[in-house]
């Protein structure tokens, strides 16, 4: 019911409810804007289902999922190892990059 794929918003025609999205294959495709227009701008990372934008990828959300994961680990008495720490850094970097900050 929900095959959804991420893509990057290229441009919008809000008066028609239409936007163009690049799904990573370099070809912009027309999609319908299913959500609040104010959530979108050029460059937004969006999730598209059946040609409809259903959400954006929220940069804070990326890091929040890590908190859920690390709470789970901590409660179960698992050590936060090097791999998990670098995973956190990875999500943090991606989150910053999404916000338009450093792109390293």
């Amino acid at each position: 019911m929900c095959w959804g794929v991420p893509g990057v918003l290229i441009d919008m025609e809000p008066e028609k409810g239409i936007a163009r999205v690049d799904f990573g294959d370099g070809v912009p495709r027309e999609v319908l804007i299913g959500i609040t227009g104010e959530r979108l701008e050029r460059g937004s990372l969006v999730i598209v289902h059946a040609g409809v934008i259903i959400s954006t990828i929220d940069e804070k959300g990326l890091v929040e999922t890590y908190s859920l994961l690390s709470d789970l680990m901590r409660e179960a008495g698992e050590q936060e190892d090097e791999g998990m720490r670098s995973y956190y850094d990875y999500l943090l970097r991606l989150s910053r990059q999404l916000r338009g900050g450093d792109s390293s």
Binding site: G17, I54, T65, A76, G83, Y87, Q97
Partner: protein
């Protein structure tokens, strides 16, 4: 500046950066073996804890065909401890589309009307043939005008171009509904394109399946992986009835393997601690209240109706019909097609097929007497085998019933 020029300007310089975003996203939730292994260990630890607390068997139900797909595609069942079972619930809009409505679409396609359909519904078989065609695929091979599209906007564009009388077979859940709604609201659907609404609402179906399950004396503890993409629109709040009224742990999860593993771990944690909460794992895309404009648009363009689910029956307030304002686009009105009501609903699955029970999560594909005997992906009988997202089809094709796991063990390739 023309749209084409704009397109070129917008795509050339930034392209690499865009790909980079997507690659990194994939790295975060898919191809990260270290995190996957840590999660697998965590899940085994939690399952042991459950055992120590006297909880023998734990069943976790996914409600979304795409979750089931991820579980099978990434072999997640083979990572589970023995006492944790993953089962599939009603998550396939194709499987629950009544036979009658497929017959309507086939009939229209033979009457010279172009039918646009998603690939999923293209092969879906009806109970009765129309002009000896049991599906849109067969109708097309008989010369009917059927075209597979990937989105409503494709159908709009093609209908505009051809100018021919046409119908869009509008299946889907809350996920695609706001797209349909916005197209009607912005008035971009041409007059020659009618809409056969098969939009279903998921919370009523989840409630029904959970109530049916809870009526039985369960000898196991139970948790739910709730649909991540439906929730982007409805919000996580749509599922809280399950945790609050029924005491079932619910996690709204994304669709990458690491998302699913985190969701399973959280459900196990709640079971071990005797909690029941609705928790969002898919925090990068889902909020508690969902997208309000999308909800508003759906309410403006559609009316909620009691709707027929294939092999299940009429579920109250579980479907969407175009509202009167858009009646001229409504294929039911335009072609005088009758909606199924509770009076004339009939069991619409082939004899012996357990798709209804499989869809409700009450039976596994391997419990069906037809599975992989009379009913195979080559010769599908029930909709659960026809739809690529159908649980039976997924199990048959990818060994979801444990075959992959068995083979791997026998070869010692772990």
């Amino acid at each position: 500046m023309s749209m084409d020029e704009k397109k070129l300007e917008a795509t050339s310089p930034g392209e690499l950066a865009e790909r980079d975003f997507l690659d990194k996203l994939e790295g975060a939730f898919r191809s990260n073996i270290h995190v996957a292994v840590s999660l697998r260990n965590l899940i085994h630890r939690l399952a042991e804890k459950a055992l120590m607390r006297g909880i023998g068997r734990i069943v976790i139900m996914d409600f979304c065909g795409t979750h089931e797909w991820s579980i099978v595609h990434f072999g997640i069942r083979s990572l589970m401890p023995r006492n944790v079972e993953l089962v599939a619930g009603p998550g396939c809009p194709v499987c629950v589309t009544p036979s009658k409505y497929i017959e309507y679409a086939v009939k229209l396609s033979f009457e010279g009307i172009t039918v646009y359909t998603y690939g999923d519904a293209y092969r879906l078989r009806s109970l009765r043939p129309i002009n000896s065609a049991y599906s849109l695929q067969e109708a097309r091979s008989d010369g009917a005008s059927v075209q597979v599209v990937t989105s409503f906007i494709d159908a709009i564009r093609l209908a505009n171009k051809s100018g021919r009388e046409s119908v869009f077979l509008g299946i889907g859940f809350e996920t695609v509904a706001p797209g349909y709604a916005v197209a009607f609201k912005k008035n971009i659907v041409p007059g020659n394109l009618a809409f056969l609404s098969q939009v279903k609402l998921t919370p009523p179906a989840m409630r029904l399946s959970l109530e049916l399950l809870m009526k039985e004396n369960l000898d196991y503890r139970f948790g739910v992986i709730a649909p991540g993409h439906v929730s982007t629109i409805t919000g996580a709040k749509a599922w809280s009835f399950a945790s609050e009224e029924m005491g079932i742990p619910v996690v709204i999860a994304g669709f990458e393997p690491i998302d699913v593993l985190i969701a399973i771990a959280e459900i196990l944690r709640q079971i071990v601690n005797n909690e029941s909460k609705t928790v969002i794992e898919y925090r990068r895309a889902v909020t508690w209240s969902g997208d309000e404009e999308a909800q508003r648009n759906i309410n403006e363009v559609f009316t909620t109706i009691d709707d027929a689910w294939r092999g299940i029956g009429i579920i109250p307030r579980s479907g969407l019909e175009l509202s009167d304002r858009y009646a001229s686009h409504n294929a039911f009105e335009k072609y005088s097609l009758k909606r199924i009501s509770s009076d004339d609903w009939e069991y619409d699955l082939p004899r012996g097929c357990k798709c209804g029970l499989v869809t409700l999560g009450k039976a596994k594909p391997t419990d069906c007497p037809l599975f992989m005997k009379a009913c195979t992906p080559d010769r599908p009988i029930g909709p659960c085998m026809v739809s690529v997202e159908g649980t039976c089809s997924i199990w048959a094709r990818f060994g979801g019933g444990g075959l992959a796991d068995e083979v791997a063990r026998s070869l010692e390739v772990y």
